[in-house]
Symmetry: C2
Subunit: 239 residues, 2 copies
């Protein structure tokens, strides 16, 4: 209930003690020239709220952020600018993580060739973009067995369908899908709403403040972890 | 002297009473699709510092900003996102301005066609850009006689040469040139340094906090206004 959630915000349980949660946040920026960049509208509020919430619940938190938001209390903070910097930081921290939550919105494209000096505005300009690193795919490929990976999908159409396709393509354990075309929710706003999808489940995440929303994601992460541990033990007992 | 400047920050003279100063600030964002954009690294700190300082010195201030920074005290605030929105707001306010200071960093290019839904990261992508509105040129063309126009130039090479060319091309009365390639100065930082150029003068602006820097720009603006009034009166007396 809402009352329980409010109480939990005030007096957090230490149910994440023992976990090391690696969280990405913010929108990365890919330079076009020394002053202009390709960016993503993510404010970083969701990722920073997850970091605050996880730390309050006893987890060791490592936050890799492209957002200018202030550092959350009791989290290790690593500030990055580009997708490449974010990936390097994440892969360096990955070995110690038990849960990875990729809340950052990576600017998925970067310039094939970055201009060394400021481009002049003389007329039309054609620029060639190439995809940036797929950070979640690299995390899935390089994680230790048992490390839970939760991705985010910001969609503007066919929310569940696109997010489920992304979940499968990336090989993550779960994906938080949010519809950023809804006014007052998602990017830059203080609230969020969406779906928590696993390979077998579709759970609705009702509109809530990013603090409450963060708590629910962590609740679902713990439940998913319990299932995974149970399944792994069952598989082990069969061999 | 520095001491005088500190005293002025604490106890501002009301030497801008009677002036209406229209200030632009921040970096505009041009959408690529609903989540990605082309942006400019300007933080808006310089423009917001100018607005604070001008208001403290008795001016009526209208701030058109693309920055998420909080509203300065006693300024009329208009928030915008794109260059087109900024230009519309500026031209609407222009008739009442006696001084215009264009501190915003406009994302000089926008997409020829904006994607309505999120672009998929499937491979390389070629995008066509076109120049955005030239806000300062429109201000110069549409200002009332006597309205002073001060532009900004953020340069990464040949500072004075590029800024002087921009001053002439735009027809502004003065231009504040800053070298954004210097570490610790300009974009995103709390300090600034550069040159104040008029048609006949090159004045060095030594490194200073953006608050002190803003005060110096306003000092030079007042001096320039006095010269302009004197020249206009001389011309009138000759006829």
């Amino acid at each position: 209930t809402i009352a329980t959630e409010v109480l939990n915000l005030l007096h957090p349980r230490h149910d994440l003690a023992g976990e090391t949660i690696l969280i990405t946040a913010g929108g990365t920026r890919e330079p076009l020239d020394p002053v202009r960049f390709l960016g993503n509208r993510s404010s970083g509020k969701m990722g920073h709220a997850l970091a605050e919430s996880a730390a309050a619940r006893g987890a060791k938190v490592i936050l890799v952020t492209a957002s200018p938001l202030p550092a959350p209390q009791s989290a290790t903070l690593i500030r990055v600018d580009t997708a490449h910097e974010m990936q390097s930081a994440v892969l360096a921290q990955l070995p110690q993580a038990t849960i990875v939550i990729a809340a950052a919105a990576v600017a998925d494209f970067r310039l094939r060739e970055v201009a060394l000096n400021k481009l002049r505005r003389n007329g039309p300009l054609t620029i060639e973009l190439e995809p940036t690193e797929d950070i979640v795919a690299h995390v899935v490929a390089n994680r230790r067995p048992g490390t839970l990976v939760i991705a985010f999908a910001a969609e503007t159409e066919s929310l569940e369908e696109n997010a489920r396709a992304k979940l499968q393509r990336k090989g993550a354990d779960a994906i938080v899908a949010n519809d950023v075309s809804l006014p007052g929710l998602g990017f830059d706003s203080d609230s969020n709403a969406g779906l928590f999808l696993t390979g077998t489940q579709t759970i609705s995440l009702e509109p809530a403040s990013k603090q409450v929303f963060a708590g629910r994601i962590l609740d679902h992460a713990i439940a998913l972890r319990a299932q995974t541990v149970f399944r792994t033990e069952k598989e082990l007992s069969r061999t």
